[in-house]
């Protein structure tokens, strides 16, 4: 963990796809800096030979038979999309 850091709020907000106002940026970066300072406490723990834990129980891939099952009809699945046409979600252009 870096000894002293200040979060690059512009970059991280962009990665997180959240537009922030200038007020939000300055408030969040000072709050996040103090949270990160607290989190750096973990550096006190020696974890060199420790296995990381992703889940409380050992979880393995679970397979099922590759056969068709009744799932959501397309109309149902799309009902919550804000704009749709002909069973597709309408979005602004994606590529130039």
């Amino acid at each position: 963990m870096p000894e002293e850091q200040s979060i690059d709020i512009e970059k991280v907000a962009d990665l997180a796809r959240i537009a922030l106002t200038n007020d939000e940026k300055s408030k969040l970066s000072s709050q996040l800096d103090s949270i990160l300072e607290y989190i750096n406490k973990l550096n006190e723990l020696d974890t060199d030979d420790v296995e990381p834990m992703a889940h409380p129980n050992s979880v393995f891939n679970v397979w099922r038979e590759d056969k068709t099952e009744t799932e959501l009809p397309i109309e149902e699945a799309l009902k919550n999309a804000p704009q749709q046409r002909q069973n597709m979600i309408v979005v602004p252009k994606v590529v130039e």
Partner: protein
């Protein structure tokens, strides 16, 4: 208090239905009336559909008349945290971004409740996407603690706990990622149980932090919590992290009065180092009671406790940033109208800016940061290793004790607004509850008394899949203490 139906436990209501002395329609009407009488002050509900609830009750009464009753919950209303999917019903997570979302399917818990005949009763308020400990982060409103309306009910399942405490629901479902069932149960003077990770399917629970989330019951007493846990437990092919292990009859196990020698661990990190003795006096009194019942107590150490909050806030925010990526303004409900018209990416930015509240933004950004290139090993991987150490503390402790007792929360319910400008202080208030989620073990909060008129909870932590044991240990206290019959004046 009186004999009105809304004061009765689910077990009592179930008996009344069985004996034919009351109908489900009468019960549901009693709760509708109660909500009408008190919810303008408690504000536990985001929404409820009285007509729909009465129709479900009518169907239950008709089944009963034909001798086709489905289960012990048939005709009993169950309140639902607003992050559980019920087909055709709203699911808002108390977030603007889901304000008009309608679930297209039933989650597994809901399918099980329907198969049991339960009446699905309302949508209960929560911190937005379950991120918080007070309901103050709700995008709709803040719920009040029924014992003192100026105070928080706890959170994130604050609506679920307040509704049960205020007798607006007899039992309810919450979800617990870092204490979100137990801490509000403690603050509201009711029973709350976080099951072992994998005991209950998460299919149909809007995901916050997938390796920590569990659905669980909030109830007036241990028997009701066991009754509801019976209904929702079990392996589910739709959740590959649910665990294929036998489900005991928790209700029967909790009521078992047989002799047993208990050894209980008292972790010094929870008592000596961070507790204000006055704030947890009822917990200390409860331990004295257990000693008088022949329980043996042993001082233990969970040495990595002080690292739990930091570990939790890395893992939970990382998982949340990934889980909440799906709310992009494209697939679900709210899309910002006022994007610059540039491209889809701008729709994401603007829709998430409008749809997410402050705490959700803070956590998604923190989670994005700890997962970002150059920081992943330093934060996320480090936290996963610390999580292993925290779990091994519990494994070591459980070699010599059957269960562990602690306070559920360092203090009773605080005044609204106490942590408004200091998110870290709010995070630190979860110190006693989050380790159970990191370790994946079951944990119960049980009302054990009052400090200055505010309820205090005793937390009992158990070995994995030993919910039956902690329920039984809790029942021993409950059997000789009347806190379960106390109701706040409203």
């Amino acid at each position: 208090m009186g004999d009105e139906l809304h004061f009765k436990s689910a077990g009592e209501l179930s008996d009344l239905l069985s004996s034919g002395s009351v109908s489900s329609v009468e019960i549901v009407q009693a709760f509708i009336d109660r909500v009408g009488a008190v919810d303008d002050r408690v504000k536990a509900f985001n929404s409820y559909d009285a007509e729909d609830a009465l129709a479900q009750a009518q169907a239950s009464d008709e089944r009963r008349a034909k001798g086709e009753t489905l289960g012990e919950l048939d005709g009993i209303p169950v309140g639902l945290k607003d992050n559980l999917a019920v087909k055709g019903q709203p699911l808002t997570c108390s977030s603007k971004i889901l304000e008009s979302f309608i679930s297209p399917y039933d989650g597994t818990c809901i399918q099980k409740l329907k198969a049991n005949g339960a009446v699905l009763w309302g949508r209960l308020n929560m911190d937005e996407f379950a991120m918080g400990s007070s309901t103050e982060n709700s995008g709709t409103h803040t719920t009040s603690n029924p014992w003192d309306l100026e105070r928080i009910p706890g959170g994130s399942s604050g609506g679920s706990a307040a509704a049960v405490a205020a007798c607006e629901a007899t039992i309810s479902l919450g979800s617990d990622t870092g204490g979100s069932i137990r801490q509000p149960a403690s603050h509201c003077g009711v029973v709350g149980l976080k099951p072992t990770y994998g005991r209950v399917s998460r299919f149909g629970l809007a995901a916050f932090a997938s390796s920590l989330d569990q659905i669980g019951p909030i109830a007036r007493n241990i028997d009701d919590a066991a009754l509801l846990l019976n209904a929702i437990s079990g392996y589910d092919p739709h959740d590959s992290t649910s665990f294929d292990i036998a489900v005991p009859d928790f209700r029967k196990a909790a009521a078992d009065g047989g002799d047993r020698k208990w050894t209980i661990g008292l972790p010094k990190e929870y008592f000596e180092e961070s507790s204000d003795p006055a704030a947890i006096k009822p917990v200390l009194d409860a331990i004295e009671f257990y000693k008088s019942q022949g329980f043996e107590f042993k001082d233990i150490s969970l040495p990595r406790t002080e690292y739990a909050v930091a570990t939790y806030y890395i893992i939970a925010t990382a998982e949340a940033s990934s889980n909440l990526a799906r709310y992009d303004g494209i697939r679900y409900t709210s899309r910002a109208e006022d994007f610059d018209g540039k491209d889809s990416i701008d729709v994401y930015h603007q829709s998430r800016a409008l749809g997410f509240g402050e705490e959700v933004k803070r956590r998604v950004i923190l989670g994005t940061y700890v997962l970002s290139s150059g920081y992943y090993d330093a934060y996320y991987l480090k936290a996963q290793k610390c999580r292993t150490l925290i779990r091994s503390d519990f494994e070591n402790a459980f070699e010599s004790v059957d269960a562990i007792m602690t306070p559920t929360s360092p203090t009773p319910a605080t005044l609204k607004g106490a942590h408004a400008e200091d998110p870290l202080a709010m995070y630190l208030s979860d110190i006693y509850t989050i380790s159970a989620n990191l370790a994946g073990i079951p944990a119960l909060s049980l009302p054990c008394g009052y400090v200055d008129g505010l309820p205090v909870g005793l937390q009992i932590l158990g070995k994995p899949f030993k919910e039956d044991e902690i329920l039984r240990a809790g029942r021993i206290f409950e059997a000789t203490h009347a806190f379960k019959d106390d109701h706040p004046e409203l």
